[in-house]
Symmetry: C2
Subunit: 319 residues, 2 copies
């Protein structure tokens, strides 16, 4: 049911992506720029934009370019993040700097970034609203950079508080999902009350989405696409680890670079037993509930229910 | 005289840069993002925007953010280009990836890029014109990426034609100078005739600027900031080398990575004797003359004369 509703809209997004992001000359550059976005992905963000448009009673044909722009920005950040994090695989394909080279990957990301801000101007809405939407999106891009910077700098710091972590996740993941939900309302010139409600719904759901990702890394085992427990081995300061450290629980393989399956199993058990995993899972659910509550200012509709169902799905999915 | 006129306006630009690009939190990121733009530079592009505004009889106070946005984009491209080209010094200071690290430099560039598109929205003009200007600037950014890609790919190709070279230079250097001159006219809603005239003036002057740079690399000797003749040693396919190769002139140190002063001297003499250097210098002057001629649609004014003087200066400067 939920999957069908998402699939219906994501196929519209796919078509729009092909339309607005063709391969041009010089081909080498555009092939690199389209490599990751062409490899698929859930299209969660643009689908949220479409449903948010329905929830405010408007026609998403007029703002489809904005939905594509958001997915384009998401892909730009992934390309650059993969260079910084030295990741070699994503969505089952080699990352752009691996499939091409680093210089081309930097340029491919820059190209997508510029294209995104060109594409959004093609929305069929009032110019003043377009300027407001464009300003929201630039502000979001600045915050994403800040979030990625914080994430990288946490690696070098010993004590990260829950507050620090939430600030980082808000910027790195939250604000783009917030914009996915709120941009349509800005583009259609809705009242601040509606814009804020959709923004906060997206922001809180986005933070929950990331926390649930951290939980899945430890509980998902073979279902998740990446190595089980990699966050612990890599020394990532997730909410779970922050909570465990706060409670004085020592995880000896934390940040050690590698560990056996047995060692990971032992570490996960320890994190389960001390309650850190449950704590994070509960936090994620709370954020989603808080986010859903913000939608109360919107009139009831099937689209509004769908937004809430997606938020629930973000913290119950098993991979 | 000309220097005074430029200095008067560049000090206004400096002040606006400080206003629109403050150091925020996280400090580490913003220090990296401000590192290069804070190290100075000629501010040629924003100064052109100010004078172009005067030449169309408007008040640049209303579009000062656009001038800052252009300089911001220029600096973003320099930061990323320096990573790709592995350059270690610029404007007398270490490049951003050297002074900080590569990941921070990628993010610093991305941050500036996003900020530029936020800053331009602060112009005090009609929203519809702002959308048009924003679209022009995004299109320019896409072309700059294409130009840098072409420049990098030329290194791996044996035969580059004059046409290929000019296409690359147009995108890598020309279009941003074109936008510097034309954006004010777009922002103030001037007729296409005026916008096109200023665009083409900037485009042709920008191409000439780059060709003259190539000439200076061979004739500037101790006056230029970088190593004399470095383009030959690095195997750069400049218009001079393309012309020399076309004439069958062989330069044995071309692309050899290093050479003695005597070898460079000998190579430059050869390029002088065959007429390749004169050919490029003449081309640059022709582009400038063609560019200046495009301004005929503008009413005469001291600002218009100043634009023409700057264009002349671009191909007569000795460093």
């Amino acid at each position: 049911m939920l999957k069908d509703e998402i699939a219906k809209r994501s196929s519209i997004v796919e078509e729009a992506i092909r339309k607005y992001l063709p391969v041009r000359e010089p081909e080498g550059l555009y092939k690199a720029a389209r490599h990751l976005i062409g490899a698929g992905g859930k299209r969660l963000r643009p689908v949220l934009s479409l449903i948010a448009t329905e929830a405010i009673g408007e026609d998403w044909n007029r703002i489809l370019p904005a939905a594509v722009a958001i997915e384009t920005i998401h892909n730009f950040t992934l390309i650059h993040d993969d260079i910084m994090d030295r990741d070699v695989m994503r969505r089952g394909v080699p990352t752009v700097h691996v499939a091409f080279d680093e210089a081309t990957a930097i340029l491919a990301g820059d190209t997508l970034f510029a294209e995104a801000f060109e594409i959004i101007t093609r929305c069929d809405v009032d110019a003043a609203n377009l300027v407001r939407a464009s300003r929201m999106l630039t502000d979001v891009c600045v915050k994403i950079c800040e979030g990625q910077y914080l994430d990288m700098s946490f690696e070098k710091q010993n004590s990260i508080s829950e507050e620090d972590y939430l600030e980082m996740v808000k910027k790195k993941t939250g604000v783009l999902i917030a914009a996915s939900c709120a941009l349509p309302a800005v583009l259609f010139g809705k009242d601040d009350e509606i814009v804020d409600a959709l923004w906060n719904f997206g922001l809180l759901s986005g933070i929950a989405f990331q926390i649930h990702d951290d939980v899945l890394d430890l509980t998902g085992k073979d279902k998740i696409g990446k190595d089980w427990g990699s966050d612990i081995v890599e020394g990532k300061k997730t909410l779970i680890m922050i909570k465990a450290m706060e409670m004085g629980v020592e995880i000896d393989i934390f940040g050690k670079g590698k560990a056996t399956k047995e060692e990971i199993e032992k570490a996960v058990k320890k994190l389960e037993k001390c309650g850190a995993i449950d704590y994070a899972a509960k936090k994620a659910r709370e954020f989603v509930e808080e986010g859903k509550a913000r939608l109360s200012v919107l009139e009831d509709s099937s689209a509004k229910s769908l937004l809430m169902d997606i938020a629930d799905y973000l913290v119950t999915r098993e991979y």
